[in-house]
């Protein structure tokens, strides 16, 4: 008696991991995702404002790059976001989830602001900026070093640790904004040294943001070289891919973790310095303004490539400025830009799947025979 043939149940489709696909294909998938995000963002705007989709995009483009001043503001926005994104990248590449960039940048900014308040009449302007630079870098680095030590020594969960450090930094800044508030008790420091401009970055070519942008461009190139072409960069990549491999080939994992986090925090400190000395000339709890979190998405979406990060930050800042233009034109709340940012990121995150995996549909019975 022969057994009846067992009919295996095969699902309609299944997911398999792809080998690496050519760059042009992955770029095409990403471009498709951005296009889809644009359509959805346009539709959402249409339903909320009744503006026809063509006008939506033209208002956005005008709001982002309509005038020369807007272009500089756009570049400045990109520079600040890119700076924080660069800062978190070495840690991410090591698979150390530093989501404390917000706090690290805030501490760097706080250090710069305190120098501006306390030392402006004691030091010459050039020396003051030098001291601000050093203190910002050190305080950002210290804020990152604390969780790194615990991660290296006791494997304390760094995601949750760095997250909590953000709020401690925010409270410390809030405490100092009461201590030095003008007028007393108002809780905000106001523009520091608005007359003497001590500790402010000087304007170059009549552009107050030129120096910020220049610094970030230099940092981008340096970090690209550091990650791609230095021994440290290689060690970071190995630790990120497999800690066991790293141990096996004789890399001191703890040392790499601590060294990389110091670098990450120091870069965050520089970002804080740019925000305080180069942009706001004051410090408040929202000086960093969520860039610490957005930067994580920028860095991840760009696959830790500093040059790609420029494009991602451009995309996000462009739409932020565009959405703000729409919301102010229609007297809507500014948080509209957060919704648009969210939609764009959802689509790009989702598109990663189609780069890394492919879907195989069930083949027809006859075909297989």
């Amino acid at each position: 008696m022969s057994k009846p043939a067992v009919k295996n149940h095969e699902p309609l489709f299944h997911v398999v991991k792809r080998p690496a696909i050519p760059t042009w294909q992955s770029l095409l998938i990403r471009a498709g995702a951005i296009l889809a995000a644009l359509i959805v963002a346009g539709l959402v705007t249409f339903f909320l404002t009744g503006l026809n989709p063509i006008d939506v995009y033209s208002t956005m483009i005008d709001g982002a790059i309509g005038t020369e001043k807007r272009i500089w503001n756009l570049l400045q926005g990109i520079a600040l976001l890119l700076c924080v994104s660069l800062a978190v990248t070495p840690a991410f590449k090591m698979k150390f989830w530093n989501i404390g960039a917000e706090g690290q940048a805030l501490m760097g900014g706080l250090a710069a602001a305190l120098c501006m308040i306390l030392l402006s009449d004691k030091l010459s302007p050039a020396l003051l900026i030098l001291v601000m630079f050093i203190t910002s870098v050190v305080s950002g680095a210290v804020w990152a070093l604390i969780p790194a030590i615990f991660k290296a020594k006791w494997n304390t969960n760094e995601t949750l640790f760095t997250l909590m450090m953000n709020y401690i930094a925010i409270q410390i800044v809030s405490c100092f904004s009461f201590k030095y508030s003008v007028p007393k008790g108002s809780g905000s420091i106001g523009i520091i040294n608005s007359i003497s401009k001590a500790g402010w970055f000087p304007s170059v070519f009549d552009q107050k943001y030129f120096l910020n942008i220049l610094i970030v461009v230099i940092l981008t190139v340096l970090l690209y070289v550091y990650l791609k072409h230095s021994k440290h960069g290689y060690e970071i990549a190995v630790v990120g891919e497999s800690e066991n491999t790293a141990k096996y080939i004789g890399i001191n994992v703890k040392k790499v973790i601590i060294r990389t986090m110091i670098l990450s925090g120091a870069l965050c400190g520089i970002a804080g310095l740019l925000m305080v000395a180069g942009t706001d000339h004051t410090i408040a709890t929202d000086t960093v303004g969520g860039r610490g979190f957005t930067a994580i998405m920028v860095s991840w979406l760009a696959k830790f490539n500093p040059i790609m990060m420029f494009l991602t930050s451009f995309l996000l800042v462009f739409f932020e400025k565009g959405a703000i233009a729409i919301s102010s034109e229609f007297d809507l709340n500014n948080s509209f830009s957060d919704i648009i940012t969210g939609i764009i990121i959802f689509f790009i995150i989702g598109s990663e799947f189609f780069i890394n995996y492919s879907i195989k549909f069930r083949e027809k019975e006859e075909k297989r025979k």
Binding site: W97, S174, C175, S335, F336, I349
Partner: protein, 325 residues
Amino acid sequence: MIVSFIQRAVMQGIPLLYGSTGEIITEKGGHLNLGIPGIMYVGAISGVIGAFFYEQSVETVNPILAVMIPLLSSVLGSFIMGLIYCVLTVTLHSNQNVTGLAMTTFGVGFGNFFGGSLIKLTNSDTPSIALVETSRCFKTALPFADKLGAIGELFFSYSFLAYSAIIIAILVTLFFNKTRAGLHLRAIGENPATADAAGINVNRYKYVSTCIGSIIAGLGGLYYVMDYADGIWSNNGFGDRGWLAIALVIFAVWRPNFSIIGSILFGGLLIAYNYIPNLSFEQVELIKMTPYVVTILVLIIISMRQKKENQPPASLGLSYFREER
């Protein structure tokens, strides 16, 4: 004064309790949902939108409908958020931290946008979103509460959403420890490959646990706006409570029954500065820091002691793909 302090601490703690219970369910399935702050905003604003339309459309509010409509719209809003998170992280294997942070950006923006623009969008003639009637229905306390003096104030003076928060936390504890489904969920959080080999449908569990977690967290937002804030929406009024809820998860070492106590403690820390005389503004800000410092200390201590039952779920934050070993 002690009585009113504890009462206010409980009221501050309830949104945190909802948020942390929701996050614990999600984390036990191995997903670190950093979108909880955004989901709580969406839960709150969805309830507000539902109540707003209801109050605008009728002359006199029916108490049962006034509670059910915001409740259902809040549940729907946070369910959709949970679903977006699941599609991206479970089905599409995206990075959980990045997806969660995007959810928070989106959710907080969604809340503030509709909170700030709802009146403009609907061309309504009310000056601000003040859902006093709805809030009154939500706040209905037990009738005998004020007859029992201090005991009544302490135990019976809260609204039904506050009691449900505690009941949900207890039920979730029982679910983890006493049911087979709870055991399966914990197994998935520890090692999804093993759970899969044992015949557990990993993705289905992850979807269900994350969506239910989102709904519970969203209720925390609803409680805040309808009960604590008297139905008055103010942008960013909810503040950092979502992150505090995630902190509470660690403080309670992933146990909802601990987070009942923890939430009241955190709630007390949030308002303690009102009850300490002669504080300067600087000191107030430093006192507000304590919940986060305490959380970090707990995190450090559990990582140093290495007790197995107090660790985060082992596969927390990692996505699971069957063919990848």
